[in-house]
C-alpha cells in the first residue's frame, strides 16, 4: 500500500492538512497571466515560488512556461522588495521585450507589505516602462484562499485594464475560468457558431497548445490582447463562468464600467452547457444555429446509450469549486451518485451549492470545502465508491483501494491529451462520458469471471 498510514478511523484535525486538494494563489495568477497576448508573468517573491509554479504548469501543459521572479534574498525580505522589482521590470522589458508584465505577489512580499501599485507608479516615473508597454498587478497572498483565488485575482486585474470609451462595441466578454487551453478554444468555437462577437479572457489557447515547428517564441500569437482587454469595458455584457474563478472580474466590470454581468456555472455537462448557450444567445441577441442543437442532441443520445452503466454508480470527486459544481450536476443528471465531494478551497457556499444540487440523490452526499485528500481517502475506506474523479494525485488512492480513476482537473502530471481535448460544451461532455464509461467497463472486463465475460456490452 502506498498510503499505508491512512487509518479508516477519522480523527478530527484542526491544524494539520494532509495531501492537500488545493495549492497557493500565485500559481493561479501565473496561469491566468499566460492567457494575455505578449505577457510575461512575474512573481514578486523569492525565486523558489516562480520555479515551483513554472515546473508544475510545465508538467501539466507540457509546454514552455516563461515567467520571471524578483529573486528575493534575505536583504530584500528585510528592507522590502521595491529595488528588486524595479530592476526586474527594467531587465524584463530590455531582454525579453513583452507587451505587458503581469505581476503577482507571494506570501513573502505580502507579509512584508510591498505595495505593487506604488512600485508600478515609481517604475513609470523612472521611465522603466517603455512607451506603449504595460504593467498590471494582482495581490495574491498564499495564505488566503487557494490557487483558484489567485487565478480570480489576476483575472480581475485584467478586467482592470478596461478603459471605457462610453460607446458600446457590441462584444460580449466571456470569462472562462481556470480551464484548459482546449476548453478555451472550444468556448470560442461555440461563440463563433452562435455568431457572437466576443472577448474571451484569459485565453491560453494559442499559447499553451502550440505546435512543434522548429521555432520558439516566448510570446506566441495566442492570448487576449491588451487592446481587447482595454475594450472589455465597452462590451454589451459579461458572462462569467464560475463563481470562484470569474465572478469578481465580471462584477467589477459591472459596477465600474456598467457592463451587465451574468455569473454562470462552468459549462461542463448538459445542463450547464445549455445555460451557457442560452445566456450567450440572449445577451448577444442571436439565434442558436441548428449545428449547436444537433451537437446537444448527440450528447443526449450518448447519455441514453450509456445510461445502464452509469445508473447509481457511486463517485468520489476532488478538485476545484467551479469545476466540481458543474461536474456534480452532470453526474447527478445521468443518475450517477456523487457520493463524496472535496475541495481544498475554502467556502461554505460551495458546500451549500453541492447540497442543493444533490438534494434528490437517493443517498447521503458528503461534501467538504477546505478538505483534503487524506479525508477523502478515509471516507472511501469507510464506504467504497465505484469511480474516482480528480487530479493525478488521486492515483495513489485509486491504486490502494483498487478504484478506477478518471483524471480531470489540475494538475495532471502523468497523462497527456487534456491540453488538446476539451471537456466543456456538448463535445466536451461526450469526451467526459467516454472517459467515465471506459474506466468503468475496463474495470468490469478486468474483473468479470470468465463465465460472464462478454463481447458485446
Amino acid at each position: 500500500m502506498l498510503l499505508r498510514h491512512t487509518p479508516k478511523e477519522i480523527m478530527e484535525r484542526n491544524a494539520l492538512v494532509i495531501n492537500p486538494a488545493k495549492t497557493c494563489q500565485p500559481i493561479g495568477a501565473m496561469y491566468a497571466s499566460l492567457g494575455i497576448n505578449g505577457c510575461l508573468p512575474h512573481s514578486h517573491g523569492s525565486q523558489g515560488c516562480c520555479a515551483y509554479h513554472r515546473s508544475t504548469l510545465t508538467r501539466h501543459y507540457k509546454e514552455p512556461i516563461s515567467a520571471a521572479t524578483s529573486s528575493f534574498t534575505e536583504g530584500a525580505s528585510v528592507f522590502g522588495g521595491q529595488a528588486n522589482l524595479l530592476q526586474a521590470i527594467e531587465n524584463i522589458f530590455t531582454v525579453y521585450e513583452p507587451e505587458i508584465i503581469a505581476i503577482h505577489t507571494t506570501c513573502l512580499s505580502e507579509t512584508i507589505g510591498d505595495d505593487l501599485k506604488q512600485i508600478a507608479i515609481k517604475a513609470e516615473k523612472e521611465g522603466k516602462i517603455p512607451k506603449g508597454k504595460h504593467i498590471i498587478g494582482a495581490p495574491t497572498p498564499s495564505y488566503v484562499g487557494s490557487h483558484v483565488t489567485g487565478f480570480s485575482n489576476m483575472v480581475k486585474a485584467m478586467a482592470g485594464m478596461a478603459t471605457p470609451t462610453g460607446k458600446k462595441n457590441g462584444k460580449v466578454n466571456i470569462i472562462p475560468g481556470w480551464v484548459e487551453p482546449s476548453d478555451m478554444r472550444e468556448l470560442k468555437r461555440l461563440a463563433e457558431m452562435i455568431g457572437v462577437d466576443y472577448t474571451l479572457f484569459p485565453d491560453t489557447s494559442g499559447v499553451l497548445d502550440g505546435p512543434l515547428s522548429g521555432e520558439y517564441t516566448m510570446f506566441p500569437k495566442g492570448g487576449t490582447t491588451v487592446q481587447e482587454l482595454k475594450g472589455c469595458g465597452d462590451a454589451i455584457g459579461t458572462l462569467a463562468l464560475g463563481e470562484w474563478c470569474s465572478a469578481d472580474a465580471a462584477r467589477w466590470l459591472d459596477s465600474k464600467c456598467k457592463v451587465p454581468c451574468s455569473v454562470l456555472d462552468m459549462p461542463f455537462g448538459l445542463k450547464a452547457t445549455d445555460r451557457f448557450i442560452d445566456a450567450l444567445r440572449i445577451v448577444a441577441g442571436t439565434t442558436v444555429p441548428d449545428e449547436v442543437t444537433y451537437e446537444r442532441g448527440q450528447l443526449v443520445d450518448l447519455i441514453s446509450d450509456m445510461h445502464q452503466y452509469f445508473y447509481h454508480k457511486r463517485v468520489a470527486l476532488v478538485g476545484d469549486p467551479d469545476q466540481l459544481i458543474s461536474m456534480v450536476e452532470f453526474l447527478t443528471s445521468i443518475d450517477m451518485i456523487p457520493a463524496y465531494v472535496i475541495t481544498g478551497t475554502p467556502g461554505k457556499k460551495f458546500e451549500a451549492r453541492i447540497k442543493e444540487l444533490t438534494k434528490d440523490v437517493p443517498c447521503e452526499v458528503k461534501v467538504k470545502a477546505w478538505g483534503d485528500m487524506f479525508l477523502l481517502h478515509q471516507w472511501i475506506k469507510n464506504e467504497p465508491v465505484d469511480l474516482l474523479i480528480g487530479n493525478t494525485y488521486c492515483k495513489y488512492i485509486a491504486r490502494d483501494e483498487d478504484i478506477p480513476l478518471v483524471r480531470w482537473g489540475f494538475p495532471i502530471l502523468d497523462r497527456q491529451g487534456h491540453q488538446y481535448f476539451p471537456t466543456v460544451g456538448y463535445k466536451g461532455a461526450l469526451r467526459l462520458l467516454e472517459k467515465i464509461l471506459s474506466a468503468l467497463l475496463d474495470r468490469k472486463d478486468r474483473d468479470d469471471p470468465e463465465r460472464t465475460f462478454e463481447l458485446v456490452m
Partner: protein, 546 residues
C-alpha cells in the same frame, strides 16, 4: 567530427560570449560576464569563475529556493520521517512526490511517509498573530496519527518574517513525546541564493540531530557511507545492487532511499564515498573530524566511472579478497554495457551536448556522453560554487558574502566516545602515494576541453542564444527549460529528475542512458517539423482542360 567543426567554425568562443551579453543592460552584462567563462582546461590554475552569487531579478533563472533544496532534495527521500511544512499550502504541495526519489521503505516497520504532503496551511490570521500554536497542534496531530520515529519541521518564507520559533516548538514537542525526535529546519526560501543553501541547512540538522545516535552495532566488513546520492529514478537502487554484489555494505545513503536508522548509524562506516560534491562535501568533512571517517570523491554515473569508483573503494580497504571481487563484478557487468555501447555508438558518435544542471551532474554526466562518443560543448551549474568548477584548492579563498554568512557552518570536534581513526597517518600517506586521493575534487573545468563555454546560473535567454549559435544535438537541463528547447527541434533530456526512466547510475544505468540518448538524438520526430508544402512551397498548376 567533420560535422561538429562545421557548426562551430563561424563562431569564436569570445564572440559567443559577447553575443550572449549584448542585449543586457550594462549592469547585468557586467555581472553575467563574470559568470560566463571560456575554459582553459588547466588543472589547479583554472581562471576564476563567479558562482554562488545572487540571481539578477527579472532574469529568468533555472534556480529554485532554499526550501526546495532542504525539504525537496535532502529530506524528501527519507521514508520513515514525517515531513511537516510550516507555511501556506503551496510549498508543501509543490514538493509532493515531484522529484522522483524512489524508496523501498526499508525502515523497521516499512514506514513510508513519502506519499504524504503535510502542511500547517497557514492563514492570514496565523501571519498576523503568529503560527507557533498551530504548528504545535499540527505536530501533535501528526504524532497521534502516525507515531513516527521522527518529525521534521520546515520553515517557509513568512515563518522567518513573522518570527515563529520553530526550533523551540520542536524541542518542546520532542520532550513531550519522549519517543519521537522532532527537529526543525530554518530553510526559508529567501535565504541564500539558490537550493544550495537549503542542502547545507538540511545536512547540518541531519548531522546534529540524527548521526551517531544509533546503538545497534554494524559488524559488516567493508562499510561505507554514500553521500550525495538521491535515488532519482532508482539510481541508488542500482548502486546498492552493485555494492552488495561486491560485498560492500552501504551503511547510509545521504539521502536517497534512506531511513532514520541509516543516518543514525552513519558514524559506523569506515569510508565516506561522495557522489554530489556540491550538496554534501561539508558533511564528509564533519564525519571525518567528528568520527574519523576519511572520504573520497567517487562517481557512479558512467560505466567506466563506476568501475573506477569501485576500484577506489576496494583500494581503500586494501583486502585482496575485496579487490578481486570488485574486478570479478566489473568483468561480469561490463560485457552487457559494451554490447549496448557498440550498438548506439555508430549513431551517437560525434554528436554534441550541453549540460546545465545541478551542482555535480553537469560534470558527472559528461562521462556518460564520452562513453557514447559525444562531446559536451558547453556546461555549467545551476547552484554550484567555485570549488565545483575550479577544484577544492580554491575553498580557502572563497569570499564569505552577505548571503553565505547567514547559512550556518557547524563547528565539530572529535567525539569523545565515537571518534576512531580508520587508518594511521602512515597508511593514509601510503594510499595517497599509491594514487588514492582523499578529500580531493578537481572540479568541472579541467575535464572540459579548452575553449568550451562554462556558464554559471544559466538563464533562459542565454540558453536560447547559445542553442541558436552552437546548435547542439542535445540539451540537458530541467523541466522548466525542456519545451522551449524542444520547440526549436533540439531534444532536451531532463537531468534533475529525468522526466521518466532511469536509473542512469551504475552499469545498468549506463545501458539505460545509452538507449535513452540514442532515442532522443535520433528520433524521427525531429524530421516532421515542416509540412511538405512548407519544404517545397513552389506552386504547381494544371490546365483547365486537363
Amino acid at each position: 567530427m567533420a560535422r561538429l567543426k562545421k557548426k562551430l567554425v563561424q563562431w569564436e568562443p569570445t564572440d559567443i560570449k559577447a553575443e550572449l551579453l549584448t542585449k543586457y543592460p550594462p549592469k547585468v552584462a557586467r555581472k553575467r560576464a563574470k559568470q560566463i567563462m571560456i575554459n582553459e582546461a588547466l588543472e589547479n590554475t583554472t581562471p576564476e569563475i563567479v558562482a554562488n552569487v545572487r540571481t539578477i531579478p527579472g532574469i529568468i533563472t533555472m534556480r529554485g529556493c532554499t526550501y526546495a533544496g532542504c525539504k525537496g532534495v535532502i529530506m524528501g527521500p527519507t521514508s520513515d520521517i514525517v515531513n511537516l511544512v510550516h507555511g501556506p499550502i503551496g510549498c508543501s504541495f509543490y514538493a509532493w512526490l515531484t522529484r522522483r526519489n524512489q524508496t523501498s521503505a526499508s525502515g523497521e516497520k516499512n514506514e513510508n511517509f513519502i506519499p504524504y504532503a503535510m502542511s500547517t496551511d497557514m492563514q492570514d490570521s496565523d501571519i498576523i498573530f503568529g503560527g507557533e500554536k498551530k504548528l504545535e497542534a499540527a505536530i501533535q496531530e501528526a504524532y497521534d496519527l502516525f507515531h513516527p520515529k521522527g518529525i521534521a519541521v520546515f520553515a517557509t518564507c513568512p515563518v522567518g518574517l513573522i518570527g515563529d520559533d520553530i526550533h523551540a516548538v520542536a524541542r518542546k514537542m520532542k520532550e513531550k513525546f519522549g519517543n519521537c525526535n522532532v527537529f526543525a529546519f530554518s530553510c526559508e526560501g529567501y535565504k541564500g541564493v539558490s537550493q544550495s543553501a537549503g542542502h547545507h541547512i538540511a545536512n547540518n540538522q541531519v548531522f546534529r540531530h540524527m548521526v551517531g545516535t544509533s546503538t545497534t552495532e554494524k559488524t559488516d566488513k567493508y562499510k561505507i557511507n554514500l553521500l550525495g546520492e538521491y535515488n532519482i529514478g532508482g539510481d541508488g537502487f542500482e548502486i546498492d545492487r552493485i555494492l552488495k554484489k561486491c560485498g560492500i555494505t552501504n551503511i547510509a545513503t545521504f539521502s536517497g532511499n534512506s531511513t532514520y536508522d541509516q543516518f543514525a548509524s552513519a558514524n559506523q562506516a569506515d569510508l565516506s564515498a561522495v557522489m554530489c560534491h556540491r550538496s554534501i562535501n561539508y558533511v564528509a568533512d564533519m564525519l571525518e573530524v567528528k568520527y574519523g571517517i576519511p572520504w573520497i570523491k567517487i562517481n557512479f554515473i558512467g560505466a567506466n566511472s563506476t568501475a573506477k569508483s569501485l576500484r577506489k573503494i576496494a583500494k581503500y580497504f586494501g583486502d585482496q579478497e575485496l579487490i578481486d571481487r570488485v574486478e570479478e563484478v566489473i568483468a561480469e557487468e561490463m560485457p552487457a554495457v559494451e554490447v549496448a555501447r557498440a550498438d548506439v555508438l555508430p549513431r551517437t558518435e560525434g554528436k554534441t551536448a550541453m549540460i546545465f544542471v545541478g551542482g555535480s551532474r553537469a560534470h558527472h554526466y559528461q562521462e556518460l556522453f564520452k562513453e557514447m562518443g559525444m562531446k559536451t560543448i558547453s556546461a555549467g551549474y545551476e547552484f554550484g560554487h567555485r570549488d565545483d568548477y575550479e577544484g577544492r584548492q580554491v575553498i580557502p579563498t572563497l569570499k564569505v558574502d552577505a548571503d553565505s554568512r547567514n547559512i550556518e557552518e557547524l563547528e565539530v570536534e572529535p567525539d569523545e566516545k565515537l571518534f576512531r581513526p580508520r587508518k594511521s597517518p602512515e597508511e593514509m600517506q601510503a594510499l595517497e602515494k599509491d594514487g588514492l586521493h582523499f578529500k580531493e575534487y578537481h572540479g568541472l573545468n579541467p575535464d572540459m576541453d579548452k575553449d568550451t563555454i562554462i556558464i554559471d546560473d544559466m538563464n533562459q535567454y542565454e540558453a536560447d542564444k547559445l542553442i541558436q549559435i552552437m546548435k547542439p544535438d542535445l540539451f540537458c537541463a530541467g523541466i522548466k527549460e525542456k519545451y522551449s528547447v524542444q520547440k526549436l527541434g533540439i531534444p532536451q533530456k531532463q537531468l534533475h529528475s529525468y522526466d521518466s526512466g532511469g536509473p542512469y547510475a551504475g552499469f545498468v544505468g549506463a545501458v539505460n542512458f545509452y538507449h535513452e540518448i540514442d532515442r532522443l538524438v535520433n528520433s524521427r520526430v525531429w524530421s516532421y517539423m515542416k509540412a511538405p508544402w512548407q519544404e517545397n512551397p513552389e506552386l504547381s498548376a494544371t490546365y483547365v482542360w486537363e
